[in-house]
């Protein structure tokens, strides 16, 4: 009688202790304690499955609980069994040692497999040296506690699943690039993803509900999604998605700018054509009149000036037409790099007049095989950048050289300025598309990237050397074209 009461009391203790268990590890140590009275029973060994082909094993190594994941065959038998050969082999395989006498207790968990089958998803193993009554006693002892163990394990595994799902959700939430935040109905932040914390943490809460948001050079469009969870119609939560439209807007601006430039180029072409006729008239008439004037007179000299001025205009217009032409594409020609420079400089006059220009053009054969108008764009872009970097005064050096490299010769064009230089932290980016440190209208971030493309198209390369507060130099190297005579 007293024995039965004691048994009940012990059991209810155990059940109470079990209800407080928060992890499978705790469950293991509780079990270990519980069976202490059975001297010849080893520490418990718990196996449970969360999917059909993966098995988790919890066991003691000394006083430490070890968790081991094993892929393996799962002994699918729902009966309590003693010294089962299959079970011993299974454990021997996992642990690499023979097992002695074994009590195997399958636990009936409510968790279901993905195909909704109730499966034996956990097993308790006890290695022991019990015999006779002691063995019966132990089996009963465990049998009493089986339901409680099953319930707790069920709960723990379910929580585990939930935790994993929550973790997965959290990681997904944080993995989204755009800032996302969940508000409650009072516009208090409930959850915010990483991007939000990183980018919009310090934004005033009323701005978080505007249509667009400008923060740290980034532009966001805001989409709000009310969430209605309860029965009543008003939303309980609001999800705000801040779509980063910075790049999209920049591309759009760029496209408009490109179209403008194209239109401008067209217009410049038309104007150039229109100017050509009167200009030719001026030059021709000056030539006619020079013939009639007596050499040595002022009129003769002045007419000469007029004729030369007209000639200069003709050259500029010719270059402008070539520069803005798109018909010439895919026509590589032999041309000296000096010629390219000479053709481009007049187009830059208004940009560089305030600088000291040092022109050091080589006398050697510096012919290259390029599309002249494209190379002109390169020279144009780089000199324009140099001018912008120098501001009001400075020295612009344009130098051409020919070097021997291996068996071949290389033609170099070096454009250097005495501007502010390029910060080392952005030096790797200046050739990137749309990278610019200039405000809209001043820079597009296309100049260098296009230049690099063009130069590489002609089997050349472009490098930059720069020192802060001293200046920058851009070196364009192209293979020398053989056929021409310098």
């Amino acid at each position: 009688m007293t024995k039965k009461i004691a048994r009940e009391r012990n059991l209810s203790h155990f059940v109470k202790d079990m209800s407080g268990v928060a992890s499978v590890y705790q469950l293991m140590s509780l079990l270990k304690n519980e069976i202490k009275a059975f001297k010849t029973v080893e520490n418990p060994l718990l196996a449970y499955a969360q999917s059909q082909n993966e098995l988790h094993l919890l066991f003691y190594q000394g006083s430490k609980i070890i968790k081991k994941d094993v892929p393996g065959v799962w002994p699918q038998q729902a009966k309590i069994r003693l010294n089962n050969i299959q079970d011993s082999q299974f454990l021997a395989n996992v642990f690499g040692r023979p097992f002695g006498k074994l009590l195997t207790i399958p636990l009936q968990l409510k968790r279901k497999s993905s195909n909704d089958q109730l499966l034996v998803s956990a097993i308790l193993f006890f290695e022991h040296a019990l015999v006779g009554d002691r063995l019966v006693e132990f089996t009963e002892f465990i049998g009493d506690r089986l339901q409680s163990i099953s319930i707790v394990l069920d709960r723990l595994l379910l929580e585990n699943d939930l935790n994993e799902a929550a973790l997965l959700w959290e990681q997904t939430f944080d993995g989204l690039q755009d800032p996302i935040v969940i508000f409650d109905s009072e516009a208090q932040i409930l959850r915010a993803n990483k991007s939000f914390t990183e980018n919009l943490q310090n934004v005033k809460s009323k701005d978080l509900f505007e249509k667009t948001l400008k923060v740290n050079n980034k532009i966001y469009e805001i989409r709000s999604y009310p969430i209605i969870t309860g029965e009543n119609q008003s939303p309980s939560n609001i999800i705000n998605h801040y779509i980063d439209v910075t790049l999209a807007q920049r591309l759009k601006k760029q496209m408009i700018q490109n179209e403008k430039m194209a239109a401008l180029g067209n217009m410049a072409g038309n104007i150039a054509h229109e100017l050509n006729n009167p200009l030719t008239g001026i030059r021709s008439l000056a030539q006619v009149l020079i013939r009639k004037a007596s050499p040595g007179t002022d009129i003769f000299a002045d007419l000469h000036e007029v004729e030369m001025a007209a000639e200069r205009c003709q050259v500029i217009i010719k270059n402008l037409l070539e520069f803005s032409s798109d018909k010439l594409e895919n026509q590589k020609v032999l041309i000296s790099i000096n010629d390219i420079v000479q053709r481009t400089l007049p187009l830059l006059k208004t940009l560089i007049f305030q600088f000291e220009l040092q022109l050091k053009l080589t006398e050697k054969n510096c012919f290259v095989l390029v599309e002249p108008h494209l190379m002109q764009q390169v020279v144009f872009n780089i000199i324009k950048n140099a001018a912008q970097a120098m501001g009001n005064s400075g020295v612009l050096t344009v130098k051409t050289e020919v070097y021997k490299k291996g068996g071949a010769n290389e033609v170099q064009l070096i454009i250097s300025d005495t501007g502010g230089g390029i910060d080392p932290s952005i030096r790797d980016q200046i050739f990137d598309f749309f990278f610019t440190t200039k405000s809209t209208g001043e820079g597009t971030g296309l100049g260098l990237s296009m230049s690099k493309n063009i130069v590489e198209k002609f089997a050349g390369n472009i490098i930059v050397n720069s020192e802060l507060n001293i200046g920058s130099e851009f070196i364009i190297t192209l293979p020398q074209a053989k056929a021409a005579v310098g």
Binding site: H273, N276, N277, P278, L279, T280, G281, I282, R283, S284, L285, Q287, V288, R291, K292, E311, Q314, K327
Partner: protein
Amino acid sequence: MKVLIVDDEPLIRRSLVRAFANYGHVVFEADDGVKGLEIWQAEAPDIILLDILMPGLTGPQVLDQIENRGNAKIILMSAYAGEYNLKKANELGADMFIPKPFTDIFAVVQIAENLMVVN
């Protein structure tokens, strides 16, 4: 020799007229193709300088309508040199092609005179 200049651009006409006159040639001018053809019939010039792109009749159209050409030489001129060249001009029945803009007006006179000398 008698020179006819057909060009819609007044300054081009004027400078050509002056340059040829300077060398003692008799010069006629027309600012479009129709007038050019009238002068051709009335004066029978030795050489015609014909602009290709003109409102109304184009240079090649004018060339097409010239009858009884005899020994007369025809020079086509154009600013859109890309589309025209000597070969094309020859195919159209002209004797010479001069791209615009001119860099030396007297070189044009020289070319015209040379054409006359050849035959």
